[in-house]
């Protein structure tokens, strides 16, 4: 019940705000109250995932939603395990910070807060759903509010950025829908083609497998769309033709259909992560979005890509995932180095941070590609930590933008001497982003390196060595930014910058504390996610291609 409340409370808030007759101030307060309540709910849900043994889900609800014909059961099946619990907690955290940072929004405030809360319903729903259909529905539900948030309250080229964001993600999610449909059909087949049963006799169809072990997954009856059941089935079918066994060895243009579906779904999530070739929407969306929205965009929406891969893409096709490790590794390292280099060439502070996000998410892909426990755990911790750090960085840029109304790095100087408290917080955020140990940015990168160095694809070592160059570039462009903005003589333009206000400080603190806390003591994070990730690693280990 708690989880459904966490998902639909912002929706309720949206309706209340739209109906509320009061002035802007009332809408703002209402929005903030709802954000805080959402945060409290999210943290309770996240806390409940502690001590969950693998395969179990906390706050699980499994209610039938659409029953059609015999095999088409779409269920409102939500639940939270370590992985989604952590990301839901991150969503709650960023909700508060973004809400506090939204005080600067003056244009039709009620519309803004309505869209803001609707966005959170979409995001929390996506993290919590354990039913592919429900996942896809929430996945697309959050696009619309984001389109309006960037489109109406954004910067000069907001319309272009908004529609570009919408088209990119929708283009990606087309392949996701195709994938879900093909998987749906393959699993509802009643008998396997003979070439599969000939090769490995113990391969079963989904319904037969479900009948074989009904007790697992708290006895829920066979449901083709339920993610836990399909993941367990995929684990069983490793080496026996995978979950698309019903297609036999139907292959298009030389690749088995599972290969196509895996890469199709990967594209859908890669657009969100963003991975190298699909990242061009990110800088535009970030530069044009208002500060609180780019905090949410960087903090949560990028994590959906990674989460989608871990929840849908990799567990469903472990065999293809293991074989595709090399390509993932290459994509990861290209994102890291390319993202860092392009960030180095930027003069707009926000665009630089956006490209640095591309580079940091490249570490996640590198971690996934390694197929090792350390790599995947490192990648997921990077997801969380990058959320807090990049959220903080965008707030930092927002504070500067509110004062200088421009983001050109070369037109700042000596802000440290005018706004010492703010500058200290900014430097902490920047050093966390550089990956300095003692701050949370280090763990994701370090474990991704450890994992990918002993990665199970050829050239893993060389790829890791190239990736380490990313560390030097990241340090270079961030330190140059610190030097141009915070140090040196006080730029006459920055002469009268007021020190950071209480509200701005309180919007940064909830992100600063975890950055330092989880840097010094990352145990709570790892305890939360390691159980649910180990099942994925074991599945991949079964394919024989991973250690």
């Amino acid at each position: 019940m708690l989880l459904t409340l966490a998902i639909f409370l912002p929706f309720l808030g949206m309706i209340l705000i739209l109906r509320a007759k009061g002035d802007d101030e009332k809408a703002r307060n209402l929005g903030l109250v709802f954000s805080i309540v959402t945060f409290v709910l999210c943290s309770i849900v996240a806390y409940k995932t502690y001590g969950l043994e693998s395969g179990k889900y906390a706050a699980e609800i499994d209610v039938s939603w659409i029953e059609l014909g015999d095999s088409f059961h779409v269920r409102y099946h939500i639940g939270v395990d370590g992985l989604s619990g952590m990301l839901i907690f991150l969503t709650g955290l960023l909700a508060i910070c973004a809400a506090l940072a939204s005080w600067g929004i003056k244009k039709n405030v009620r519309g803004y807060w309505a869209m803001f809360l609707l966005l959170h319903t979409g995001v929390i729903g996506t993290f919590a759903s354990l039913d592919t259909f429900l996942f896809y529905m929430f996945w697309e539900l959050m696009l619309l509010p984001m389109y309006f948030l960037i489109g109406i309250w954004g910067g000069p080229r907001r319309i272009y950025a908004a529609i570009k964001f919408f088209l990119y993600t929708l283009w990606g999610s087309v392949f996701l829908l195709a994938g879900i449909l093909v998987v749906y059909f393959a699993l509802s087949a009643d008998k396997l083609p003979d070439e599969i049963t000939a090769k490995n006799p113990q391969a079963l169809t989904f319904s037969a497998w479900r009948a074989a072990n009904p007790d697992s997954l708290n006895g829920a009856d066979a449901n083709v769309f339920s993610i836990p059941q399909v993941t367990a089935y995929a684990k069983y079918m490793v080496g026996k033709g995978g979950i698309l066994a019903a297609f036999g060895d139907l292959s298009l243009f030389g690749h088995h259909i599972a290969w196509w579906i895996f890469w199709g779904m990967f594209i859908a999530f890669a657009v969100k992560v963003p991975v190298f070739p699909f990242h061009t929407w990110l800088p535009d969306a970030h530069v044009e979005a208002p500060t609180p929205i780019s905090v949410i965009l960087a903090g949560i929406l990028l994590k959906l890509g990674g989460y989608g891969m871990l929840r849908l893409n990799f567990p469903f096709f472990p065999q293809v995932f293991a074989e595709a490790a090399f390509c993932l590794g290459v994509l990861g390292v290209v994102s890291i180095v390319y993202g860092a280099l392009v960030a180095m060439a930027q003069t707009d502070f926000k665009k630089m941070v956006a490209y640095s996000s591309v580079s940091h998410m490249g570490f996640c892909i590198l971690g996934f590609a390694s197929l090792t426990t350390e790599g995947i755990n490192g990648a997921v911790v990077q997801l969380f930590n990058h959320g807090t750090i990049s959220g903080l960085l965008f707030l930092v840029v927002g504070v500067l933008y509110d004062r200088a109304h421009h983001r050109d790095l070369n037109r700042f100087g000596g802000v440290m001497w005018k706004m010492p408290v703010y500058s200290t917080m900014a430097t902490i955020a920047i050093f966390a982003s550089i990956g300095l140990p003692g701050l949370s940015g280090f763990w994701g990168e370090f474990l991704a390196f450890v994992g990918s160095f002993s990665g199970h694809y050829h050239h893993a070592k060389i790829i890791t060595v190239i990736a380490t160059s990313g560390l030097v570039f990241t340090a270079a462009y961030y330190l140059r930014a610190i030097q141009r903005v915070y140090l040196g003589k006080v730029n006459p333009a920055c002469e009268d910058f007021p020190e950071i206000t209480k509200r701005e400080k309180w919007s940064m603190l909830p992100l600063l504390v975890p950055t330092i806390l989880f840097g010094v003591y990352p145990k709570p994070l790892f305890d939360m996610i390691s159980t649910s990730l180990n099942t994925l690693v074991e599945t991949v280990k079964q394919t024989g291609l991973a250690g």
Partner: protein
């Protein structure tokens, strides 16, 4: 194998927590505390010093080869005993105990010195906060038992050096120097990280015990072990400013002098040597060869440059690089104990020299150039005498600690058959004495070159001179020299056997370096070596000083005098043009590729993949600013396809009914023909 490990005394973790606590208090309440919290910080480091000394004696009481070790689980990835977990661990053996004492002693003295030196600075409390933060990081690095904690201490120390070098970053020169230091050391750290990754890949753990066991069991193939060794050493090259990454140390002198003394003379830069000594058992012969040669080359080249420097701190900086080269040479030739011994003694007298130069600079109102000095011995007697004593130690004159530690390295080099390196080291020793004599003479003797500054010069207050005196005492303290006699001198018993090395069979290169169960290894050289060598070393030191004094006594040569042969002087003065080479080779190339990637991103990737065309099109006619967008999004495949097809259908929709009919019926006829053939076929 007797169990050599002992449980850690309870107070050891407090060695780190005291300065950490002081730092936290300083951070939050620094400005409001009396004397802006410097006493709190000094108390913190003082406590650590006391505990370190107590720990040293407690360790010395242990039988030879034993050590304290303790581990706490930090975080765990897979459950179960053999699951993947990373833990915090502390080990205390000879190396740790000695370095702890050196670090805490020098730190305490530098903190005291800073109260005088930094008096009146607007951000006085921030300075002390960063000093205590540095102390914490250095102590973590020293006490770390696994490479992960060592790496974390390593990078935090890098952060503190960045913050302290760039302390006065009002003017960009200091900020630039700080950035350069951080990035160059980070290049070194990348090398170290790769070394760690190799060890983790093969030995499955980062704890030193696990690595030594893995190497002993042959888990790491020879080439990988060499590369890992060189990788780790590359981290040390970055941190200890060895060739080729030594460019950042001279610029680091932009920081306040106490910082230079503490970080860039005694502690941080020594961390590289400490790492090399601690991980000595895993270095393969050709890794050691690489280390030795790096050390030798650095020592020699840096010594040459020292001659051409006019800034008092720059001379000392190059002298430090040169001495660090010596220590690396010591480790490289298979005598980590000699390297560590030189590190200990060097920390003392180099800190004294830096603080001495600090007091001179303080007296001369922040004038650092030799052209304003001369004849200061009368005005600043205490600084002068401590400076001269430390110079003697640095030059390696008998009855000083420097003589013993430097000669130990040279003897080991000779003993282990590195003739070329031995001669290079010997010549560098001579050069060291020479340039130190030059500097001392130009600074303290002869006629004052800047009368106005000379008149203002006065002796530094007690808070600055007392640390000088203590350090100078260590520079010449006899208990070092007393060790000239029997083998088990108190001084170098600390470095005989680092933790765990005892418990595992050694690779051959290492066998001769360690005492096993109290027995001396085969070619163990007494620290004083053959008689003829002692005389040669002593004579060389004295000749160096004499020549230096002789050249500059006449007063005809000032600081710009060109002592080195013509060609060599330009080369050395220009620091071998390495800065410029790095600037356009690496930094320039990185910026060019960055701009190239940006162009690629905006034009090709953004254009080819996105629908900016179609998007631009239907916005284009609505809002003006999108026009440039349609132009800029020129190269866009997907967008053109959508637009092209749209245009095609548009033309088909010509408005003439007959066209419609013709097209409709035409297409139907064609499809009929195709299908008929299809069905028949």
């Amino acid at each position: 194998m007797p169990d050599l490990a002992h449980s850690l005394p309870a107070y050891v973790p407090w060695i780190i927590f005291c300065p950490a606590l002081a730092g936290v208090i300083q951070h939050f309440f620094g400005a409001k505390l009396p004397r802006k919290g410097d006493l709190v910080v000094i108390a913190g480091i003082g406590a650590s010093l006391a505990m370190s000394i107590a720990l040293m004696f407690q360790w010395a009481a242990l039988p030879a080869g034993h050590y304290f070790v303790e581990a706490w689980e930090w975080f765990r990835l897979t459950p179960g005993a053999d699951g993947i977990a990373f833990d915090m661990a502390i080990v205390v053996d000879g190396l740790t105990a000695s370095l702890l004492c050196v670090v805490t002693l020098v730190a305490t003295l530098v903190f005291v010195f800073s109260t005088g030196y930094m008096k009146g600075d607007p951000r006085y409390e921030r300075f002390f906060f960063w000093l205590s933060f540095f102390a914490v990081a250095m102590l973590i690095l020293t006490l770390a038992d696994n490479l992960l904690m060592l790496f974390i201490g390593w990078e935090l120390v890098g952060l503190c050096s960045y913050k302290l070098i760039g302390f006065w970053s009002e003017d960009l020169v200091n900020a630039e120097a700080a950035k350069k230091a951080f990035i160059v050391t980070r290049v070194g750290d990348v090398g170290m990280l790769l070394g760690m990754l190799v060890f983790y890949h093969y030995c499955g753990t980062l704890s030193m015990r696990g690595i030594f066991a893995g190497v002993a069991a042959g888990a790491v193939p020879a080439t990988a072990l060499t590369w890992a060794g060189i990788g780790l050493f590359f981290g040390a090259v970055g941190k200890s400013a060895q060739f080729p990454l030594q460019i950042w140390l001279p610029d680091a002198m932009a920081g306040p002098t106490p910082v230079s003394a503490l970080i860039h003379a005694a502690t941080m830069v020594a961390a590289g040597v400490y790492l090399a000594a601690r991980m000595f058992p895993v270095f393969t012969p050709d890794a050691l060869q690489y280390i030795a040669w790096t050390g030798g080359i650095t020592a020699f080249l840096a010594a040459l440059v020292a001659f051409t420097q006019t800034d008092i701190k720059k001379v000392l900086a190059y002298s430090t690089i040169s001495q660090l080269g010596y220590m690396m040479l010591g480790v490289g030739v298979g005598a980590p104990w000699a390297g560590m011994f030189h590190l200990t003694t060097h920390a003392m007298f180099k800190a004294c020299l830096f603080l001495g130069s600090g007091s001179v600079i303080h007296a001369m109102h922040h004038a650092q150039d030799l052209k304003d000095m001369g004849g200061l011995r009368k005005k600043m007697p205490v600084t002068f005498y401590t400076f001269v004593l430390s110079t003697l130690a640095l030059a390696g004159i008998p009855f000083t600690s420097g003589f013993l530690s430097k000669d130990a390295i040279l003897i080991e080099a000779l003993g282990n058959g590195h003739i070329v390196l031995f001669s290079l080291g010997l010549f560098s020793a001579f050069l060291t004495a020479f340039y130190m004599a030059r500097m001392v003479w130009l600074c303290f003797f002869g006629k004052p070159r800047n009368q106005e500054k000379f008149d203002h010069a006065h002796e530094s207050p007690l808070s600055m001179t007392v640390p000088l005196i203590i350090l100078a005492a260590f520079a010449v303290s006899f208990w070092f020299t007393l060790g000239a006699g029997p083998e088990d001198e108190f001084a170098n018993q600390f470095y005989r056997t680092p933790a765990y090395a005892q418990e595992f069979p050694k690779t051959d290169a290492v066998a001769h370096a360690y005492w096993v169960d109290g027995k001396k290894p085969a070619n163990w050289h007494a620290s004083h070596g053959p008689r003829w060598f002692q005389i040669v070393a002593m004579v060389l030191g004295l000749i160096g000083l004499g020549v230096g004094i002789a050249l500059f006594r006449s007063g005809r040569r000032n600081q710009n005098a060109r002592i080195l042969p013509a060609g060599v002087h330009e080369l050395a003065a220009g620091k071998y043009y390495m800065d410029e080479m790095y600037l356009d080779a690496f930094v320039g190339a990185a910026n060019k590729t960055a701009d190239g990637c940006r162009w690629v991103d905006e034009k090709l990737v953004d254009g080819a993949v996105n629908l900016s065309g179609a998007v631009g099109l239907f916005i284009g006619d609505a809002s003006g600013d999108a026009d440039d967008l349609v132009v800029d999004g020129a190269v866009n495949l997907a967008a053109d396809a959508a637009k092209g097809a749209g245009a095609l259908v548009g033309t088909a929709q010509s408005g003439r009914v007959r066209n419609y009919l013709a097209m409709a019926i035409g297409v139907t006829a064609v499809s009929i023909i195709v299908l008929v053939f299809f069905v028949i076929g």
